[in-house]
Symmetry: C2
Subunit: 220 residues, 2 copies
DNA sequence: GAATTAATTGAACGTTTGTTTTATTGTCTA
DNA sequence: TAGACAATAAAACAAACGTTCAATTAATTC
């Protein structure tokens, strides 16, 4: 046999991407075989090579698009010119919702970096660094404006990102908490972590009002 | 050829463990071949099967021992009967130093869970849950004693563990910061994150004194 | 110093791997 | 309706995989 009735290149390629993300997230890149992926799509293994020259190119494409999506999402959301507090809140919200909504894709991008060639790895890490740099800038501005109390900007940025991305390890859609609730709680934790000085006389004792406001902000 | 001069079972087994941790951490479990591991040890692939019945058994042994070591380290360090603040500080210090000192082993235990059979996975997860339960108990006690301000104990415990374990992603021994400095900074961040009420009138503004005390505590 | 045990080699097994090649069929265009 | 092109199947490739087995030698025991 050969070409099957109703076959369409674009649809097949999309199906390959989707199946690959799910399969790599579940089994790992090395453990997933091209035959397995092809079977999931409902096609022969050879057909995959019409869309991706090699297995590693497929992985790279998935990762690149994930990072591009993340950076684009932030670019579209970030409140330019706003105060560091609002910018930090926007960063946290964007980061968490993006990663929860793309759990599988995030898993792939975080776990399979070592399967990339040096050259491709560099490309992905460049994007990642650019994204993280935005958070460091927010923290630095906040410290300069005397809004945050931070010992080490770089270290705090890494700690925050690890904490936020870690959500996908335990969170499952349809859990006890909604995405908005999780995001609100993480936002409150973030604000305390950076020692944020909220409007007036709020001390470390009463995180509740901050928590409340975070929730409101997300409800819109 | 056959048995080589000076060969010793115990030494070989230890060398296999060590090489396996390093190799799996760098390449991943699936990507590492038994022949590669054998070459690193300076032995033929068949010799490995004298010590570990299968490749997966080797992985499981490494993970089990890592978890046993972590739990034992905490058991030996934990200040029983102390107040939640001191217990939390001890937990953070133990967790971070343990993981930094065993970066490779931690990488293996965190990244290769999916390569375990259902039965072996359950065993590892049981240990992990028991360890995390300790942190949740500390947080709960702290909230009850009105020492912490936390929205959700379980969620906060996960966030803290993700944040702390994440250290191994970016930290390299011999970095700008020493292990003690990193631990001290993470301790300060943790205390703010849980809204810890320090001795007297400390608010969210002045984290510096807390930071200073954390450093002192670690210097001993 | 002979017998026994411990440690390892080297070759081989059947599978599975990523990838390539060739042939075949559906779909679109003129 | 003929020809061009797109999309796939089927078979084959060499290489690498985890693992087993029999043979062999070093160390230990008696």
């Amino acid at each position: 046999m050969a070409r099957t009735t109703g076959s369409d290149g674009e649809k097949t390629e999309a199906a390959v991407r989707e199946a690959a993300i799910s399969l790599i997230a579940r089994l790992g890149y090395e453990a997933m075989s091209m035959r397995q992926l092809a079977a999931e799509v409902g096609v022969q293994a050879a057909a995959l090579y019409r869309y991706f020259p090699t297995k590693q190119d497929l992985l790279f494409t998935l990762m690149r698009e994930h990072m591009e999506g993340l950076i684009e999402a932030w670019r579209a959301t970030r409140p330019v010119g706003a105060d560091p507090l609002a910018r930090l809140a926007a960063y946290v919200e964007n980061h968490i919702t993006f990663h929860i909504e793309r759990r599988h894709s995030t898993h792939v991008s975080n776990m399979e970096l070592r399967s990339l060639s040096h050259e491709k790895l560099t490309q992905i890490l460049r994007m990642r660094t650019a994204y993280e740099k935005e958070l460091r800038a927010i923290l630095r501005d906040g410290v300069e404006a005397d809004l945050f109390s931070i010992e080490d900007t770089g270290l705090t940025a890494m700690a925050l990102i690890q904490m936020m991305t870690g959500v996908i390890v335990w969170f499952r859609p349809g859990d006890r908490l909604s995405i908005a609730e999780v995001t609100a709680t993480y936002l409150a934790m973030t604000m305390r972590l950076v020692g944020a000085k909220t409007d007036g006389a709020s001390t470390s004792h009463d995180a509740a009002p901050l928590f409340g406001r975070a929730k409101d902000a997300l409800a819109t």
